[in-house]
Structure formats: structure tokens, C-alpha cells
Symmetry: C2
Subunit: 134 residues, 2 copies
């Protein structure tokens, strides 16, 4: 298998408290995001923290999606890493961003498995959305 991969790192701000604190909702969104991108799901593991917050991962044949939510800050940290050329991680990232209703998104894409670690800008999810340059 080719080691080539693409890793989208995205910081989502301005998300709704209740969505970010709902394990079932977040798990559903993450699974759907993987499927939306055409990934094959292998393992799903989510955890609810007290008093608030959810962490979870969807392991896919093509690598993984992760999320850590901080409802009290309206913040979710997401990673979508896909190996190979077939799946576009940005498709899954955009799905998550939309479902969580983020108002501000900061994102970069990191090529993986292709030598030195470099960082690339990613396209904004929506023109109206504020995507800060790195």
C-alpha cells in the first residue's frame, strides 16, 4: 500500500454547546463524515467526559478521523487523515464543520508518508466562512 496520505487539521470555533456535548450526535456526525468521503469504517470509539466534552475516533481503512470537543468554549478540534488518492479528507472535514455549525474554521493540510512534514493551506469550507491564514 502506498504511504501517501493527506491529513487535514481543523480548529472549529463558534459551535453549539449542546451539539459538542452530545456523544451520540458527534459519533453519528463522525461516522457519516467518513462515509460521505467514501471511506471504509473499521473501528469506532467515543468517550464522554465529565462535566462536558467528547473525544472520539473513527478508524477507517484509509487512516482515521478524530474529534475532541470543548463545549464550554464552542470549540472542536478535528483531524481527518486519509491514505491514498481515492478519498479526499476535506470532504469529511467539511461535513463535520457543517454539522457542528462552526462559525470560524482554521485549517491546514499536512501531506503524510511522502518525506519531510510540510504544511499546506486548505480551501475554505464556504466563502462566507472565516478561514484564517497560517
Amino acid at each position: 500500500m502506498d504511504t501517501m496520505g493527506r491529513h487535514v487539521i481543523a480548529e472549529l470555533w463558534g459551535c453549539d454547546f449542546d451539539k459538542l456535548n452530545d456523544l451520540k450526535f458527534i459519533e453519528k456526525v463522525m461516522v457519516e463524515a467518513a462515509l460521505e468521503a467514501g471511506a471504509e469504517i473499521r473501528e469506532v470509539a467515543f468517550h464522554k467526559f465529565a462535566p462536558q466534552g467528547v473525544s472520539g475516533v473513527v478508524i477507517i481503512s484509509e487512516s482515521h478521523l478524530t474529534i475532541h470537543s470543548f463545549p464550554e468554549h464552542g470549540y472542536a478540534s478535528i483531524d481527518v487523515y486519509t491514505c491514498g488518492h481515492r478519498i479526499d479528507p476535506q470532504v469529511a472535514a467539511n461535513y463535520i464543520i457543517e454539522k457542528l455549525g462552526a462559525t470560524t474554521v482554521e485549517a491546514v493540510q499536512v501531506p503524510r508518508g511522502m518525506g519531510p512534514v510540510r504544511v499546506e493551506h486548505v480551501q475554505p469550507f464556504k466563502p462566507k466562512m472565516k478561514v484564517k491564514a497560517v
Copy 2:
């Protein structure tokens, strides 16, 4: 909870085929790496691929550790993301690098939850180890 986090992205090359293809070994190393850094483990999920390769995640109270191995290329892609100031992700990353016997490591550290996504160099694991600049 503070959103501040540190995310080490590391590319490990020159690792041993058998180690990279051994799910139990890799799971043990990843769990031990989390504990070595002082993290609190919440969920563990690993998957073995055919004909080779292992993917897995350790969800910790402080975020996550992930790995994807490509034994046929001697390559493992690892992420260690820790929230808060108490845990140093580099400690866990170094533990994994050592146990997998990587001969070349490329790594960067990405601050999370602190605004625009930036990328920082990380210190080499060992002076003798080749860590390529980004």
C-alpha cells in the same frame, strides 16, 4: 477545560517489518507511550489489515495517540495530541520512536486550540537521529 493543546506529527521510517505488522506489540507500545507521558487512558482501538499493516488509537483524557503502519515500507505515521500543560506529547512520541526502532524521523509540533494553526519544529529524539527540517 483549557483548549490549549500540542500535537506532535511524526513520520517514522526504517522501522522493522515484524514490529510494524504485530498488532499486539504496537498496541502495547502505544498504551505504554501514553502511560510514560503520564496520560490517563480512556479507550483503546486497534485494527490489523490484510495482508499487512496496523492502525490504532489510544484515546486519553488529554486527547489521543494514533498510529498507522506500513510494514512493507518500514514506515509508521504517528500522532500524539495532548491537551493542557501537564503532559508532554514529545515524551510519548519519543517512546514510540524508540520502541519501533525508527532510523529516520521527521516531526513537527502543531499547537491546537490557540487560534490559527501554526507549525513548530520539534527537537530531535536523539542527536544521532536524522530529523529533517520542514
